[in-house]
């Protein structure tokens, strides 16, 4: 899962245009939305696209999405569990 986490950080920075961040700036456990990284609703939708495009995972339910997209770790866990 370490590799997946590292890969996700790179993908997220690129997809969400977080150009002033490096993977080292993103903690595995920190909340992506609200506090922590402070991503917004469009970022959430972009993450849904990344999960679909790169990992074949579809999230249609926003409520379920909130839990999955909580942190890099929860995303990595979900991908691992649903491969």
């Amino acid at each position: 899962m370490e590799n997946l986490i590292a890969k996700l950080k790179v993908q997220i920075i690129e997809e969400l245009s977080l150009e002033d961040l490096t993977p080292e700036d993103i903690q595995d456990d920190e909340p992506l939305f609200g506090e922590g990284l402070g991503l917004d609703s469009i970022d959430a939708l972009s993450l849904v696209v990344v999960l679909d495009r790169e990992y074949g995972i579809q999230i249609d339910d926003p409520e379920q999405g909130k839990d999955i997209l909580y942190s890099i770790k929860t995303i990595a866990q979900y991908i691992t569990d649903n491969k």
Binding site: S17, L18, E19, D20, I42, S46, D52
Partner: protein, 223 residues
């Protein structure tokens, strides 16, 4: 002829890798690198820290940078209330450069991943939205599309807005970007002449005045 009630207190032009602010060349970049790199370079050198910049499409980045210089990152409009400033912009290409990018994310039926972060920018007025968010402006705004920059129309319409609403200052101009990333942007800060510093501004709010600045006639004369 009646003295004009309004004048241009500041203007900023971004064209041909140059940024001209009130007649002075702020930046003139060497001709290497593409338009996106030019924008990033300008942002990194001069821009205030504003992480949302990177998420914007190229048209919005162009418009935001022009605005940043025009109003000196907000200091020139501090005297105004959030409801007092109107934004009246126009261009010829609408958001077509971004439209083409969004299309790429859906063109191939087998690689169909519509990108919401791009889609939101397939409307030219979102550039105005970005300016309003950054500078907390809640006034009137409108985005027009025309074949060429019609400064006389922008003047007429701005004056209508001044007369018809409580607007005290207007950011107006032309921010354009085509499919091939040819770009040009000129914005004017127009204020009511009220006996303060704006009365001594060198540029009257007329089509001729705006065209001269757009075509850089003022710079030709001084060179």
């Amino acid at each position: 002829m009646e003295p004009s009630e309004f004048s241009i207190s500041h203007y900023c032009l971004i064209k041909n890798r140059r940024i001209i602010l009130n007649g002075e060349k702020l930046i003139e970049e060497e001709a290497h690198g593409d338009f996106p790199s030019f924008l990033s370079s300008v942002y990194k050198t001069f821009g205030s820290e504003y992480t949302k910049f990177y998420k914007m499409d190229l048209l919005s980045k162009l418009g935001i940078l022009t605005t940043d210089f025009l109003i000196d990152f907000g200091s020139r409009i501090k005297k105004y209330n959030e409801n007092d400033i109107a934004i009246i912009l126009a261009n010829s290409q609408s958001s077509l450069e971004t439209d083409a990018r969004f299309l790429e994310t859906i063109a191939d039926e087998n690689k169909y991943y519509p990108n919401p972060a791009l889609f939101v920018y397939t409307l030219p007025n979102v550039l105005i939205g970005e300016i309003c968010i950054k500078y907390k402006l809640k006034g009137e705004s409108v985005f027009f599309v025309s074949q060429t920059a019609d400064f006389d129309f922008l003047r007429i319409y701005s004056e209508n807005v001044f007369r018809n609403t409580k607007t005290k200052a207007i950011i107006t101009g032309w921010v354009d970007l085509d499919f091939k990333q040819n770009y040009e942007s000129i914005l004017f800060l127009v204020e009511k002449n009220d006996g303060s510093s704006t009365d001594s501004s060198p540029w009257s709010f007329t089509a001729t005045s705006m065209e001269d600045l757009y075509f850089e006639k003022n710079l030709e004369e001084s060179e």
